[in-house]
């Protein structure tokens, strides 16, 4: 095992940042800690690095219990969200810092620095100060500086968070390649599911200081095991519904949902989470279609996006270009929707909060 995180707790004043988190990272694996801001994912990373001391729990690096060691003794590499480059040192000096404090031989340091500058493609920038570099360049210096000490594990805190979209994509791909090349056990923190899905071998989904799910990108996307994961991974529609007298209705309507897998013995509020691609939009009513109104149609390249309105509930759906062009869809047209697949959760789980979060993330309006 590269990294073992065992049951860690961390509290800041009255706020529980990390609440009993455990997971393993295999040797050479690239793992993403995915979660919204404030979920505690950065704190977990900082605890692995030794920058925060957990109130409880243990951290093992390469089978050694390092919980009691300082960051200096752990020999981990940490890349900070805002790079944390030494402003008063040149690129070269920044990269050499870790080697210099280890009192390596001058010649070895020079050689290593040259090699790393080549690796991160910053030839010609050796004498520049961080203030003279672009965001992507700074991030690469930060990475080179971290790699210089040959850490046994690499920890990256929102490594691309401060970069604009295009640079971010390039750098993410480059990081993936670098990881394949160096095969160094790595953990990175992100709030961007695309980033996590794109470059990680494994995703650990974190919410409110707890692990929600661990699995490959495919696992987490296709088999979300909790409401939170479903809502966080991918764009999701949130539909309020109620269970009344053994029947399921969409809230404030008389649209009934037939579902035999759900326990309907207790009357309660529930929430349906439906992915846009799991919503079928039809012109004609089939047996279980709900009537709705098309509010908007947007061209999105290879597909079309619908904004639909069912009573007071607004949902988003997508349709393939070919399918779309076959039938003439228009604004303010009546249509019928079918939920091909969905997840049901109790509203008492605090769905309102999830909804707020989704709103902030821009998944719903």
């Amino acid at each position: 095992m590269g990294i073992v995180v065992r049951d860690i707790y961390k509290r800041f004043g009255g706020f529980i940042a990390v609440d009993g988190v455990s997971f393993d990272v295999r040797e050479g694996e690239l793992v993403a800690l995915l979660g919204p801001s404030g979920s505690g994912k950065s704190t977990i990373l900082r605890i692995i690095a030794g920058l925060e001391i957990p109130d409880r729990g243990e951290i093992y690096l390469k089978r050694e219990n390092v919980t009691a060691l300082s960051p200096r003794q752990r020999k981990v590499g940490f890349v900070f969200q805002h790079y944390a480059l030494f402003k008063h040192m040149t690129v070269e000096k920044n990269i050499a810092f870790g080697l210099e404090v280890q009192k390596r031989k001058r010649k070895d340091i020079e050689e290593k620095v040259r090699e790393l500058i080549r690796l991160v493609k910053l030839e010609g920038y050796e004498g520049h100060y961080p203030s003279q570099l672009s965001g992507g360049q700074r991030q690469r210096v930060a990475l080179a500086r971290t790699l210089a000490t040959e850490p046994s594990v690499l920890l990256l805190d929102e490594p691309f968070g401060a970069l604009d979209a295009k640079v971010r994509d390039n750098l993410a791909k480059w990081l993936k390649e670098l990881h394949v090349k160096l095969n160094i056990t790595s953990v990175f923190v992100t709030h961007d599911q695309n980033e996590a899905i794109e470059i990680s071998d494994k995703i650990v989904v974190i919410n409110r200081g707890k692990v929600e799910q661990i699995g490959t990108a495919k696992d987490v996307y296709e088999h979300p095991n909790s409401k939170f994961v479903a809502s966080f991974i991918g764009n999701v529609n949130v539909v309020d519904a109620v269970i009344k007298n053994g029947l399921i209705f969409i809230k404030d309507t008389d649209f009934e949902i037939i579902d035999r897998d759900i326990d309907v013995s207790v009357d309660r509020d529930i929430v349906l989470l439906v992915r846009p691609e799991d919503i079928l939009v039809e012109k004609d009513s089939k047996q279980e279609g709900f009537p709705c109104m098309i509010q908007d149609v947007h061209y999105r390249g290879s597909f079309y996006e619908f904004n639909l309105c069912m009573g007071d509930t607004y949902i988003r759906s997508v349709k393939d270009k070919d399918d779309f062009l076959g039938k003439k869809w228009e604004k303010n047209q009546k249509a019928f929707v079918v939920f091909k697949q969905y997840k049901i959760f109790d509203a008492s789980e605090g769905h309102w909060e999830i909804r707020e979060k989704l709103r902030q993330l821009g998944y719903i309006e």
Partner: protein
């Protein structure tokens, strides 16, 4: 969990040794250096009793000196507020040759010894000075008289308003002003309705600093005034005189009054500073 052949070690505790030692030393240093003298004067005045306290501040010379300080301070604030804002406007919004040099000169009163400052004005406005002889021919006395004392105070307090207003103006003023112009406001309207409100707290802070420095100024005013009792003696000069005359009770009481006054100014400064947040902080 096969990895952990566990021996549970205590979780690392952060060492507070450096923190506690440093905090303790700093507090001790602060108390000895700054708080002890304040205590010293309080104790002295209390020991002397209220009788002497009232006697020594109700003497005509003492009253006159405080009045003089008050009027000089008011004048200095008035003139330096106007010119300070003007300097800030010119330096922030205009560009001309030699601007950087002039801007540097504005800081000079911070760096010049008050005695040298006073001496410069004797050289310029004294009976044999360049301008002094000209004023003298109209029978206007500047040195060893009130005008000289005001000028000396103006000099030492010149940077405060300008320096406090400049950063605020640079930050907020200009865009809003342009918006006001576009909306059809005249320059004068813009100044009163847009510029002034936006620099308000910087201005208030600068005025407070000017106030504090004016009532406390000693060296420059001493040199140009000649310290004539009941004529050109300000509060600080009065304290100095009492002290050199071995009238300690008088010196202590007057000092306490000025100290209390300065302390109140300090409190005001803190309140204003909280609202201002930006700008230079060296007084």
């Amino acid at each position: 969990m096969k990895d952990n052949d566990v021996c549970i070690r205590p979780i690392r505790k952060q060492s507070h040794f450096i923190e506690y030692t440093l905090t303790f030393s700093v507090i001790i240093w602060f108390i000895i250096l700054v708080m002890a003298p304040v205590y010293g004067i309080l104790r002295e005045v209390i020991r002397n009793g209220a009788g002497i306290f009232i006697d020594s501040i109700s003497s005509p010379a003492a009253i006159h000196s405080f009045k003089l300080t008050f009027w000089i301070t008011v004048t200095a604030i008035f003139i330096n507020t106007i010119f300070g804002v003007m300097l800030a406007l010119v330096f922030v919004k205009q560009d001309f040759r030699g601007k950087i040099f002039l801007e540097g000169l504005v800081d000079l009163p911070f760096a010049v010894s008050p005695v040298v400052a006073g001496f410069m004005f004797i050289m310029l406005f004294g009976p044999n000075g360049w301008l002094g002889s000209w004023f003298g021919s109209y029978n206007i006395k500047i040195i060893y008289a009130l005008p000289g004392m005001v000028i000396a105070t103006l000099f030492v307090t010149l940077p405060f308003v300008a320096r406090e207003v400049m950063p605020v103006l640079a930050e907020y003023g200009i865009e809003q002003e342009e918006a006001a112009y576009i909306l059809g406001a005249s320059k004068w309207q813009t100044f009163w309705k847009v510029t002034l409100p936006s620099i308000k707290w910087g201005l208030v802070y600068g005025i407070t600093l000017t106030f504090a420095r004016s009532i406390g100024e000693f060296g420059a005013v001493l040199v140009v005034s000649g310290s004539i009792i009941n004529k050109t003696q300000t509060a600080t000069l009065h304290i100095h005189q009492q002290f050199t005359d071995f009238n300690y009770a008088g010196a202590f009481t007057a000092s306490l009054i000025l100290a209390v006054l300065s302390f109140s100014i300090l409190i005001i400064m803190k309140c204003v500073y909280k609202r201002k947040e930006k700008g230079y902080r060296w007084a």
